[in-house]
């Protein structure tokens, strides 16, 4: 490492060191003057009693035979006064408080990538991969696998155990053994040999996707967009011709047609076709510029929300959301 890069690294470390010390001081100051990073909750009792018909209804005076549990509602900062705490109606929620701190720490871990790749960022990245994969799988199993597969193969069991509101009158539908078998065949992909067996379910996927997408795109994109593009270029109102709507309609039509001509690669872009394609590129550039502007603003809005979380919900420097 040469001297200049070493000096740059040292100054970077110094700057970040100072930022962390200032941050720690602010955190200690905030904790000593407010309820920084604390989540307070109030309990809510839920109790249900069985009627003569076996159906349950809510009750305010539960007995030992009734089914009851407690849920907790977060007390907003604006309502969390010393009187509320002293009265004992609000309690500190340790699970949510720890969660709030972890969320803040993980946010800072990701933010630390601005300094460069580092162990904190890699740790957070590994957590994203693990939790996201698990989360998606849980959603798939509870939303699709249980009602659509188990619910068809063992409707009685699923109705009794998981989905009491499910209609099980159709009985067992043996046809649904096929997707169950296809799933098992799909898992052969994990085997060292016999991976070709997974081609059957993959082929099913591809076939369904091709058929489904073809109809979907023709209906929603091709036909609908062409239909929307056919607009009157000469717009009239109560007093006859109206300039601006007509102008806009012309621009819209020219933009659509010229941009489509740009995508027409079967003929060389020369002469009139080439000039039209050039105009098409201009409109496409405007489209990309607009998309870029929107994307950047979307990301900045996300960043603002995270900063609001850090400075509001966690540090209480600003009113929390």
């Amino acid at each position: 490492m040469d001297k200049s890069s070493e000096a740059s690294k040292n100054s970077n470390t110094l700057i970040w060191g100072i930022i962390f010390i200032i941050g720690a001081i602010l955190l200690v100051w905030s904790m000593s003057t407010s309820r920084t990073g604390q989540v307070w909750v109030t309990p809510e009792q839920h109790a249900f009693t069985a009627g003569a018909d076996g159906k349950y209804s809510a009750t305010d005076t539960p007995s030992s035979e009734d089914i009851a549990w407690v849920t907790y509602n977060v007390v907003p900062d604006s309502e969390l006064t010393q009187e509320v705490i002293d009265s004992g109606s609000a309690t500190l929620s340790w699970s949510r408080t720890i969660g709030l701190w972890l969320a803040a720490i993980f946010t800072l871990f990701i933010l630390s990538f601005l300094v460069g790749d580092n162990p904190a960022y890699k740790f957070a990245e590994a957590m994203v991969v693990g939790t996201s994969a698990g989360y998606v799988m849980v959603i798939g199993i509870w939303d699709v696998f249980v009602p659509l597969l188990l619910g068809k193969l063992a409707p009685g069991f699923v109705q009794t155990a998981f989905l009491p509101g499910m209609d099980a009158s159709a009985g067992t539908q043996l046809l649904y053994i096929i997707p169950a078998i296809l799933i098992i065949m799909l898992l052969f992909q994990l085997m060292p040999s016999g991976g070709w067996i997974s081609r059957w379910p993959i082929a099913f996927f591809i076939g369904i996707t091709a058929g489904y997408r073809m109809i979907g795109y023709v209906e929603a994109d091709l036909v609908a967009q062409i239909k929307a593009a056919i607009v009157p270029l000469w717009v009239t109102g109560e007093n006859g011709f109206v300039f601006w709507p007509s102008f806009n309609a012309v621009i819209l039509t020219v933009a659509t047609l010229s941009a489509m001509i740009y995508f027409f690669f079967s003929v060389e872009h020369k002469g009139l076709l080439g000039k039209t394609a050039r105009v098409g590129i201009w409109f496409l550039m405007i489209t990309f510029g607009a998309s870029f502007g929107y994307t950047v603003m979307g990301r900045i809005a996300l960043l603002a929300a995270r900063l609001e979380f850090l400075f509001g919900d966690w540090l209480h420097f600003i009113p929390s959301s």
């Binding site: 649904y176 169950a180 082929a203 960043l303």
Partner: protein
Amino acid sequence: MKRTVPLIIAIVAGFVLLIANFIPFAEDWGLTAQEWFNILAVGAMILGGGNLVKLHLMKISGQRKGWGYSVVTIGCFVGTLIFGLFKIGVHPNEIYPNVGWSGYYLEGGSGLWWIYQHMIVPLTSMMFAMLAFYVATAAFRAFRAKNTEATLLLVTAGVVLLGQTYAGVWLFEGWLPESMQWLRFDHLTEWVMNIPNTGGTRAITIGIALGVVATSLRILLGVDRSYLGQD
């Protein structure tokens, strides 16, 4: 067996869905096929999860560089699965309080909700938010008004960016005559989004739709067999 059967499966499955759109009595076939598709998609998720665990376990057993992060990944994956699948912390549905597992798996206060709220949301939203820095710095380095096309992109991006902020209104406050108010960035943004942007997006959408139709037809007619692999 290895290539012909999958080819037939793909063609039949695709045509069943196509037919279901045109023949009323075949409508149920299409719905069933879509249900099977959704079920198989969950199977693919399970396969993905299995693959994730397999790859990271291999990394851990080989003690390859960064294997500690693989432990974190597997730990988080298994933890999320346990909390979600066993509905830890989930209360029964209030209509069926006697059925213990009838509650919503993402109920407020439950284990999976805790993971989602305090781990997945902050981590993923901050990751996306970070792109704001990188997109902005990349744009600063790459955007140069070298020619007409680049200038159009640059100006449009600037107008749309400012048009969505208070600055887009504030810059023109007090001095712009009423007849020229359309020049305000927020008004220009609206026009750009509604007219030229709609035209360009429409052309791209139509192009994509034509591409999807062509690719789908190639698969359904057995012309494109790339999904069958090599052997």
